[in-house]
């Protein structure tokens, strides 16, 4: 039996049309449990008013992404042990760069709208689902759900997304790259070849560093840039 830890959970609260504030809860937890479990305990035993998103508890749905001690984490696979110590604190806040609906729940509707515009499909062949630099099988007979779980952590971590609301953001641009790789449709390139598309990125690489799911959005953005430049140069020389 693992020894239990005593930790404080400092959770960001915000109700409609009211100012944001923090609530502190003391919990006794098994450190091998996940941060999401701790948040759920707070809801179950301390405050039923706490609003937070979660569904699958095993990193396939992307709903439980939150800021834990200032860093984006997918809380269902982030063990308490990895982010704090006995008698430690856990500051839990909603993702950045999205409007807050309530407590830890953010409004990601524009993110989803843009993913639809990118014609991003969740199921692809094994080959299309993985990145070209990975030595995975070039299997086209089996299919799987792709890496991106649409959690929004990349958008939350991106400094450019913080400054510019119109910026497509890493997740959406990665989705365009994924779709282009499958469809090779010029329209997709034109949609991101703009001031608020691939060219807004400043190479901070924060997105790839927080992605819990092997998407590597930064690589995909640079890949799109390369394809766009090659296409443009090609057109220039054809004339």
């Amino acid at each position: 039996m693992t020894d239990l830890w005593n930790i404080s959970l400092i959770i960001s609260r915000q109700k409609t049309a009211r100012k944001r504030y923090f609530d502190t809860f003391q919990l006794e937890v098994n450190p091998d449990e996940y941060v999401l479990d701790a948040v759920e305990r707070v809801w179950a035993f301390h405050d039923r008013g706490l609003a937070f998103r979660h569904a699958c508890h095993h990193s396939t749905c992307g709903a439980c992404a939150m800021l834990v001690n200032g860093v984006e984490k997918l809380t269902c696979i982030t063990s308490i042990r990895s982010v704090t110590h006995n008698s430690g604190k856990l500051k839990i806040e909603p993702l950045r760069n999205f409007p807050v609906i309530s407590d830890l729940v953010v409004d990601m509707s524009s993110f989803y709208t843009n993913l639809e515009l990118a014609r991003f499909t969740q199921v692809a062949t094994l080959k299309d689902a993985s990145l070209p630099y990975e030595k995975e099988q070039l299997d086209t007979t089996h299919e799987r759900l792709v890496d991106c779980i649409e959690c929004g952590m990349c958008v939350s971590a991106c400094p450019a997304a913080h400054t510019s609301e119109k910026y497509h953001g890493p997740g959406v641009l990665a989705a365009y790259q994924h779709s282009y790789n499958q469809e090779k449709d010029q329209f997709l390139l034109e949609a991101v070849d703009c001031q608020d598309g691939v060219w807004r990125c400043h190479n901070a690489f924060e997105c790839s560093s927080v992605c819990p799911s092997n998407v590597d959005p930064a690589w995909r953005i640079m890949n799109l840039r390369r394809i766009i430049i090659q296409t443009r140069l090609g057109r220039l020389f054809k004339k």
Binding site: G70, V71, Y133, P159, H162, T163, S164, E165, K166, H202, N203, A204, F205, E206, S209, D216, A218, W219, M222, N223, R225, R226, I227, I229
Partner: protein, 128 residues
């Protein structure tokens, strides 16, 4: 208003917590860029003054040999080296080249830069 400036957005750029190598490289490039631009303006101003004759030139050279100005010039050299090398890294990355190694490349160029700056420092303060 979309894309409108705000003080919180401005302050977030200067929040150093939990940032990765990529963001530090970006911040470094911005700071060195500002430094080099300021230097360029000062340099042109100085050149303008020098065109006024030999006495202006001599007094300027005397000033240039003081340790404070020498240190300032070292900073300019440092800025130039860092901005240049990082600029090459960013350009390569932007064309989809070596993106997966951006962290390692940054570390290497930091080491190269520090070595080059140390050499220049030695040259400027002990030989010249």
């Amino acid at each position: 208003m979309e894309n409108s400036p705000s003080s919180s957005k401005f302050m977030r750029w200067f929040d150093p917590r939990y940032r990765q190598v990529g963001t530090w490289a970006f911040i470094l490039n911005r700071v060195t860029a500002i430094g080099l631009t300021v230097y360029l303006v000062l340099h042109l101003f100085m050149l303008g003054k020098l065109a006024q004759g030999p006495e202006a030139y001599d007094s300027f050279i005397a000033l240039a040999k003081t340790p404070l100005i020498k240190f300032g010039e070292l900073l300019v050299v440092a800025a130039g080296i860092l901005h240049g090398l990082n600029g090459i890294r960013i350009t390569l990355n932007s064309f989809g080249v070596l993106v997966r190694y951006q962290k390692q490349i940054f570390i290497i160029l930091l080491i190269l830069s520090v070595t080059a700056i140390a050499y220049f420092a030695y040259f400027m303060f002990f030989l010249a």
